[in-house]
């Protein structure tokens, strides 16, 4: 049938201070399970054995929240392109496989426990510029500002970024350029965002640098692993907007 015997090598780490290591577990899974369901089964097994269950993050389990961060056999969210871990199914693996599961690695994403890392650096980048300033009041009519289809689509493509951090995890430099460029590209392409475009890109890049992410070497590993298939064209856009804004903004800092 569809049962599969698997060997899991999973990163276990008590807390941020302790040193972690890979622990080996045997598990019987079904090919119809999602990867997270397979980990749920592992945790039931661990609880029955009176062992500490594995800590891993998850929320929506439907590919929209970006919580389910982990690196599976060297790839963030596993081998299937354009999916998060919750949408990865065990049929992507074979009976008898050994699967290595590690937390996202980046100095700016410290491990909290086991597979859970602290991605609040992303929140601070968004806070630094991922908004538009409008006076609240009556809700504005949705179509009061005309936006052509191509621009709307390009902005929307960038806006699909779920802030999962797979780009940082995949990058050998732990660079957050794909994420930050998606956020910049989302708003800077739209008329509502254009007003603050220069300051937005300056602030967001400066916050990104402050968080200690690496620089972009244009490896494009981020694009290959992004569950929303965000394009590195956004990185080029952010680069030219940053260069332009630095050279032409009226501010001297």
């Amino acid at each position: 049938m569809s049962d599969m015997n698997l060997t899991l090598k999973v990163w276990r780490q008590k807390n941020n201070q302790s040193k972690g290591s890979l622990e080996t577990y045997k598990i019987l899974a079904s090919e119809h399970m999602s990867f997270l369901e397979m980990l749920d089964v592992l945790n039931e097994q661990l609880i029955q054995e009176k062992k500490e269950p594995l800590a891993f993050e998850h929320d929506c389990r439907e590919w929209i929240c970006g919580a389910c961060s982990m690196v599976i056999n060297g790839q963030p969210h596993g081998p299937q392109r354009g999916t998060t871990t919750c949408q990865l199914h065990m049929r992507q693996f074979k009976d008898g496989d050994t699967i290595v599961v590690e937390p996202f690695r980046a100095k700016a994403f410290p491990v909290i426990k086991d597979l859970v890392v602290d991605r609040s650096a992303f929140d601070r980048i968004i806070q630094s510029g991922g908004f538009i300033s409008v006076n609240t009041g009556q809700a504005v009519d949705g179509n009061s500002i005309p936006i052509d289809k191509d621009t709307a689509s390009a902005a929307f493509d960038a806006a699909t970024c779920i802030g999962c951090g797979a780009c940082v995890a995949a990058c050998p430099n732990a660079s957050a350029m794909l994420f930050t460029s998606a956020k910049v590209s989302h708003l800077n392409q739209l008329p509502q965002g254009k007003l603050e475009a220069k300051q937005r890109v300056l602030n967001m890049v400066s916050q990104m640098d402050e968080e200690g992410f690496g620089l972009c070497s244009n490896v494009t590993a981020c694009e290959a692993e992004c569950p929303k298939e965000i394009s590195v064209e956004n990185i080029a856009r952010m680069n030219r907007e940053y260069i332009g804004a630095s050279l032409t903004s009226d501010k001297f800092v």
Partner: protein
């Protein structure tokens, strides 16, 4: 900090410096190869020596050459610093490594630092062997129609008749090819020049450049060696 140093020391600013110095070096390699190909003219080095004389005495070229030394230094020092900073930002890798890339060779892109260090070692040896001899060394003189010029052709012939050096030279060109296979197109992306209409052409040009230019450089010692043995 002034806005300008904030700009140039930001992550994107630092990459901008890498990209512009890299592109300058790309243009330089093309000029340098055109010069070197004159070694292949079978005239006992006359054309090449006259060219070497011109390159070391023309004031415009002299000024450009100071820029070149500064840019190589800047590119190498900044490159190594960035590379170390990036490795530190990763803070250790994965037990299983499986880096994919969409439009470059991940192995080259990840190892630009190592490739660069090898190029730097080659450059230092290369400069000692030819450039320093031309500047300070006691090269034999040769007289062409009453004009005394340094005979740089002699150390070139010596170097290229040594099989060990020829192999080292050719391997170094392979390393430059790898560096540029990633670097050429990467420098355009860094500048923000990524466009559906032009990027495929830039990618193609980069591949052609990184094969043809190192190949051109490598052919010279190979042909010299074959001719002399």
């Amino acid at each position: 900090m002034s806005w300008f140093s904030t700009f140039l020391t930001s992550s994107i600013g630092k990459k901008l410096v890498m990209s512009l110095t890299g592109l300058f070096l790309i243009v330089f390699l093309l000029v340098h190869l055109t010069g070197n190909l004159q070694l292949l003219i079978d005239d006992g080095g006359r054309q090449f020596n006259l060219y070497a004389k011109f390159m070391t005495s023309n004031p415009f070229i002299k000024i450009t050459s100071y820029g070149l030394y500064a840019f190589i230094l800047l590119h190498a020092v900044q490159g190594i610093l960035l590379w170390l900073k990036n490795r530190a930002a990763k803070g250790g890798g994965y037990a299983v490594n499986n880096t994919k890339a969409t439009n470059t060779v991940a192995g080259f892109a990840k190892n630009m630092g190592w490739l660069g260090i090898i190029i730097l070692v080659f450059l230092l040896i290369h400069l000692y062997q030819f450039w320093l001899q031309m500047k300070l060394g006691t090269l034999p003189m040769v007289n062409y129609d009453g004009v005394e010029v340094k005979n740089l052709y002699v150390p070139v012939m010596d170097a290229f008749s040594n099989i060990g050096f020829v192999i080292f030279y050719v391997l170094s060109m392979v390393v430059i090819a790898f560096h540029l296979w990633h670097g050429f197109q990467s420098s355009f992306q860094t500048l923000g020049l990524n466009h559906k209409k032009y990027t495929p052409f830039i990618q193609f040009l980069g591949k052609a450049y990184s094969i043809l230019i190192p190949l051109g450089f490598a052919l010279i010692p190979i042909l010299f060696f074959l001719r002399n043995s």
